[in-house]
């Protein structure tokens, strides 16, 4: 840990050549992961990471560097090296640092570091036993894994603030590979949280998670290839929110908006989505996977409504990109670790509940696709073009969910899809993911109720939809 006295000295060296902001980000984290393959513990791995990143800002310029040497000497050297980017006189001086205190909405009572490896192994094996009990010869490989991560962070900045933040995460996952004469399919599920191990014993049942992974792999084995073309698409609740995350969430980050590089830049106050759509990024949900009490710039976590009844009202903003937008940061500044310069990112991002039931949405669909599970996706924030792959999908015919189909890819433009949402369900749920962008891989929740898109391009190998 860095003392206040050293921090003040380092911040001032950072400011010595005319920077208008300096910041030290200190991190001391540790992690553990294990994997069990075909019934036996195959890997057990521990990691520790400790370092500091220094960021200097001057107008719209950002200078960043990091080091593993967190001694006074190491930090002063880094600050001196970085300050060479500017060559003006010092404008600001830090004389004192006041601690920002915030509510801890994400307490983990029993640290994963105090739980034995044996207990974690036993937890994963519950799900492994469930898969083995099925004795289905088509299951050729099954992997269960558990990982936990403890992170301590302290940030000091030239606004005279400092804070510390401690957080812990756990994640359980199962991957099942099934094979028959037609080919090979996989099923995956991996719930995670900012809660202690009791979450995986009370709120999530490892047997259910493993069973679901197995059932998807087996179901997809017998599924036909998905037809391709334009069709109505119903997107299932929970993980279905990856559609919004990719096609609208990323283009609503200040990193894309500030430079006018997003398809939504300059559209604040305009209707960009169907009136049925209200979308939110909320980092204050207690103990959720993507929640943060305070961001990497010292701004408190908030609930931001991004789209209200179809109208674009807000963005994910960090202080640096906010400079180009004449806006203050709103608690969205995040990074993977000290090796990354932070930027605006999502936390728990979801489409809010509407009024229809899932059953009503399916019943109202004559011929289309019902996409329930997703592998992930990607987006070009400039154009809003996205694509994502379905891991579990069905054909809907005459208002009924019919045969499963595999290999479906949904492609389109976020701006068009948002306007094409014509039904929104009332069954909001969340799914846990790792989101990769400029400031590294961070934990985010995606979420939504069941929704229907009037028409969308579906890619698949199964010919025309009939």
């Amino acid at each position: 840990m860095i003392s206040k006295k050293i921090a003040i000295e380092v911040l001032n060296v950072g400011l010595s050549t005319g920077a208008d902001y300096s910041e030290i980000f200190f991190e001391d984290s540790n992690s553990y992961s294990l994997s069990i393959e075909n019934g036996r513990v195959e890997t057990s791995n521990s990691g520790a990471t400790c370092g500091a990143g220094i960021r200097l800002l001057k107008g719209n310029q950002c200078v960043y560097g990091f080091t593993n040497n967190v001694s006074k000497k190491g930090l002063l050297k880094l600050a001196t090296d970085l300050s060479k980017s500017f060559n003006e006189k010092q404008k600001l001086t830090v004389t004192d640092l006041k601690q920002i205190r915030c509510k801890n909405r994400n307490p983990v009572n029993n640290s994963y570091n105090d739980i034995s490896r044996e207990e974690k192994i036993a937890l994963v094996k519950e799900g492994i036993n469930e898969i083995e009990s099925e004795k289905d010869p088509r299951i050729v490989r099954y992997i269960g894994s558990f990982g936990n991560f403890h992170r301590f962070v302290a940030v000091f900045n030239s606004k005279g603030k400092w804070f510390k933040r401690s957080s812990e995460f756990g994640r359980l996952a199962y991957l099942v590979v099934a094979m028959d004469q037609n080919g090979m399919e996989t099923g995956f599920e991996g719930p995670g949280c900012q809660q202690d191990i009791s979450y995986f014993k009370s709120k999530v049942n490892p047997r259910d998670v493993a069973r679901h992974s197995m059932e998807v792999a087996l179901k997809m084995l017998s599924a036909k290839e998905c037809p391709s073309g334009k069709m109505p698409v119903i997107i299932g609740n929970g993980w279905g929110g990856v559609l919004f995350h990719e096609s609208c969430g990323h283009p609503l980050e200040a990193s894309a908006i500030a430079k006018g590089l997003s398809c939504f830049a300059g559209k604040e106050g305009q209707i960009i989505a169907s009136k049925l759509v209200t979308a939110v990024d909320d980092s204050t949900i207690p103990q959720a996977w993507g929640s943060i009490d305070i961001d990497d710039e010292g701004n408190l976590g908030t609930k931001r409504t991004l789209i209200k009844n179809g109208k674009l009202v807000d963005f994910m903003i960090d202080d640096f990109n906010g400079r180009r937008m004449n806006r203050e940061g709103n608690g969205s500044c995040r990074r993977q670790n000290y090796k990354y310069c932070p930027t605006s990112r999502m936390s728990n991002t979801y489409i809010a509940n509407g009024k229809s039931t899932k059953e009503e949405i399916i019943k109202a669909t004559k011929l289309g696709l019902y996409a329930v599970g997703f592998n992930g996706g990607s987006v070009d924030p400039t154009t809003g073009e996205f694509n994502f792959g379905c891991s579990e999908a069905y054909i809907v015919r005459d208002g009924k969910v019919c045969e499963p189909v595999k290999g479906a890819t949904l492609i389109g433009k976020g701006s068009e899809v948002l306007l094409n949402i014509d039904m929104v369900g009332n069954d909001l749920d969340m799914g846990q993911g790792m989101c990769g962008a400029a400031s590294g891989s961070i934990r985010t929740n995606v979420g939504q109720p069941t929704i229907r898109i009037k028409e969308m391009t579906v890619g698949g190998r199964g010919g025309e939809l009939k």
């Binding site: 069990i36 393959e37 075909n38 513990v41 195959e42 890997t43 057990s44 791995n45 521990s46 990691g47 520790a48 990471t49 400790c50 310029q61 950002c62 200078v63 960043y64 560097g65 990091f66 593993n68 040497n69 090296d81 970085l82 980017s85 490896r117 490989r141 590979v177 094979m179 080919g183 090979m184 399919e185 290839e225 998905c226 391709s228 073309g229 590089l261 090796k339 310069c341 997703f374 592998n375 996706g377 990607s378 070009d380 400039t382 154009t383 073009e385 694509n387 994502f388 792959g389 595999k406 290999g407 479906a408 890819t409 492609i411 391009t457 890619g459 698949g460 190998r461 010919g463 025309e464």
Partner: protein, 440 residues
Amino acid sequence: MKYDLFFKLAKEAGIEECELSISSGHSLSFSLFHGEVDNYSEDESFAISARGKINGKMGTASCDVWNKDKVKFLVNEIVNNAIVIESTDPTFIFKGSEKYHKTSTFNKNLEKISIDEKMAKLRQLETNLKNYDKRIIEVEEVSYDECFSTHTLMNSHGLKLSQKLNYFVYGGAVIAKNGDQTKSGGDLFLANDFTKFDTNDLTKKICDQTLRKLDGEPCKSDAYPAVLDADVVKSLLIPYIGHSEAEEVQKNSSLFKDKLNQKIASSKVTILDMPLAKTIFSRWFDDEGVACYNKPIIKKGVLQTYLYNLTTAAKDNVQSTGNGAKTGGKIGTASALLVMKPGKTSLKDLLKKVNNGVYITEVSGLHAGLNAQSGNFSLQATGYRVENGKIGKGLDIITVSGNLLDIFKNVITVGSDAKLFLSGVVCPSVQVKSIKVGGK
């Protein structure tokens, strides 16, 4: 010696054999937006991962700071992690190969180039991009990155191997607009010889490939004879060759299982693992310390070998192929450089051969639309129609779909236009019998 304490404490803790893998280096990067430096970063990095054996079981741990506390941490965690391992797979801390073919991946001249010179080229790139075509309405970013690193492997048998590496990357991204259509695109140049970088070449590549995306529209869903651009072949080649990893074969999740010495691809297809080829991807020892060597994986369509590390090789009673690669705490397998052997037909002649069909220039969303396990893919794509042997109307908002095994079986002609990609692949464009396109 700095690392002796680790080996001493490991021995005292009952660790029979152990190994340290150390990466250290420094990197520099900066980017411009509208002529201003908007991001600048430099850093010193250090990472160490350790493995050790107790009763034949391997425990692993890693850290990024080297002091007495962290040495104790590594030793303690190796012991505690080894104890819970249940796998009966054989494990190895390697004594060393008989011979190593050292290759050079370090260019000492790169260190002599001043920041001003690097910055000047970047400014020139930004200006060139801005002025290339009036449909280029914005230069999203131009960036420079460089990395110097040293990777050292040392173990309790006294083996010590070390390789130095440096490279630089220039990159740029632009936005093009025509009427209502907006498209973005970018590309990179990667090398460790600064004299090889030409801003005009990179400008042309970035702008041409972005501009050609404009004015595209979907075609009718159907199967079309096709040319797949080298960039598309690269995207499909990596997951395809993933099936040659011995662990996948041994664990029943490879499409190449039981296919050794059998014809799995068109006789036009030869794919090699070339760790000793002179590129920045060159490696002369793998992550277990085994000597790397060049070899065919698929020769004229016939599968020649699986890729092995020491553990999977012992299980099949063969020698490691020097493809051990660390991912997290585990040693898996990987190829340092995959090369698809080019043919003699130019891209222009490949299009002539197709006559009427499609030329697919880009696929995206690999992690979403490609099931590496089953080999099935359905990917967002862009390209052109091929009309009377020439490039015709642009194609946009289409998907291409198929299966990796089928695609490489259906290769009719291999192009001569082989390119090196950032993902460690060299490959040319190919003509395939047909590919399914989803559009209108």
